[in-house]
Amino acid sequence: MYELFIHILIPIAIFSFIALFTLFAVYAERKIAGFVQDRLGPMETGKYGSLQTIADILKLLQKEFITPTVADKILFAAAPVVIFSAVFIGFAVMPWAPDFLPANLNTGLFFIMAVISIDAIGILMAGWGSNNKFSLLGSIRAIAQMVSYEIPIGLSLISVVMLTQTMNLNEIVFQQGVLASDPIFFFGFWDVTQIGGLFSWYIFQAPHLIIVYIIFFVATLAECNRAPFDIPEAESELIGGFHTEYGGIRFAFIFLAEYAMMFLVSMLGVILFLGGWNTPLPNIGSFALADWTTGLYWGIFWTISKALFIVGVQMWIRWTLPRFRADQLMNLCWKVLIPIAFVCMAISGVWRIIVMV
């Protein structure tokens, strides 16, 4: 009975975290947009507009369910559920702190790749079910983009897995800090097993992973359908893309899925490349900063703060760069990211055999 209780409690906790995160992320997004475009952003509701998103969600919750008459009723209603649950399942294998994760799977990384691909089905369902040309065009664009960009993501993940020798996300994070069981070398020559901190993160254990991380970041930006890769929902061409016909709580769920996806991929990047729940502070002589700042609560703090920082970068990029054209998008994926990712994968193999031994 106790176990069943835990099994129910954890998803509820993660869901409430995602909902809370989305509320504040939307507010942050508007404020960042305002900052980039030299205006104030929301200012009316609450102090500095801080209650704006809460007012928005209250409005969305009260709205009527509107289904277009010629839409496929079942597909139209099921699509937001599929889209959101695809992203939500992904959180099942994410470690938040040392040994503190919902499911400790040996196939964690592979699981996330598979689950993210379900998202595409949901978007296609929304586009087809709406029976609207803009929605269908938007969803076809989304699929073309997501299927293409899954390849650089997969290749960059393989580059990391070749070094970690495991797909268990919990173990991958353990290998990047003071709690590691194997010796860690900064750039392959300086033993930092006892020092930990910033130096033992994977991007610094093998320098080519910095490039891999950039590839991963760009590709996940496209996977989330965020600007500059937002051609699936390009407002100026397609009104709203695949969610043109959605309103009320269904739209809220699509929106929730988008922000949950942003957090999921940011957190995945943090786990694989930036040390996960490991502290950035190194041990300096008798100042054992790394030992002091490692633990359950510190772990959760570092995971969330690093992931939020990456989400912040995603927002900053969204409001700074213009949208890619469809052919430029494909060129970037197939002619730039994939070849570089292949080279990095080869380097990873050599690095593992020669440097990490």
Partner: protein
């Protein structure tokens, strides 16, 4: 009944029920999206066979790749062709319902007979391994074993598949390439 047993029957019911719906639905688009549930439930059943790698691969390849390809093929085919597909009862290739039922029952009988026979004559290697405790546990890291097997025992098959996939990739790139202007 433990939670695992309930989940197993839930997945099995989901797989069979949605598979029946897939073949009986008149609306092809809905049938294709329902196929997603069949594949998903199958992946769940693989988990009960402790084949977590196969389960995830099923979702990654079938749901993320093949199913999307099928839906695209459906969207790109023209309406008359689809209408023909939906009224196939008069065509020479289609089976009348009673013949299909006989075939299905025949297959079911063959499989049940196989299972019945198998219970009496379990191969020796299974009984010895069971006695020695050489069985896969749910907590075992099977994925490493799969990796080792791929590059030792099954290396030839693995390499042949990789060359085949490379051929497919080159072929796809060749077909989709724009003809150079003379």
């Amino acid at each position: 009944m433990t939670l695992e047993v309930i989940l197993f029957y839930a997945f099995a019911l989901l797989a069979i029920g949605s598979a029946l719906l897939v073949v009986s639905l008149k609306n092809l688009a809905r049938a294709l999206f329902l196929f997603f549930i069949v594949l998903f439930a199958m992946a769940g059943l693989y988990l009960f066979a402790l084949a977590d790698f196969v389960a995830i691969t099923q979702i990654l390849i079938y749901v993320g790749g093949v199913l999307i390809l099928m839906i695209f093929a459906f969207m790109l085919s023209n309406k008359e062709l689809l209408a023909d597909l939906q009224n196939t009862s008069k065509q020479f290739l289609s089976l009348p319902n009673w013949q299909a039922a006989v075939l299905a029952i025949g297959f079911l009988a063959a499989i049940s007979y196989g299972i019945y026979e198998w219970q009496d004559f379990t191969p020796d290697w299974i009984t010895t391994n069971l006695r020695n405790g050489q069985v896969i546990k749910p907590t075992d890291n099977t994925i490493n074993e799969i990796g080792y097997k791929f590059i030792t025992q099954y290396v030839l098959a693995f390499e042949v598949i990789s060359i085949f996939l490379l051929m497919v990739l080159i072929g796809a790139a060749h077909i989709s390439r724009r003809e150079e202007q003379a």
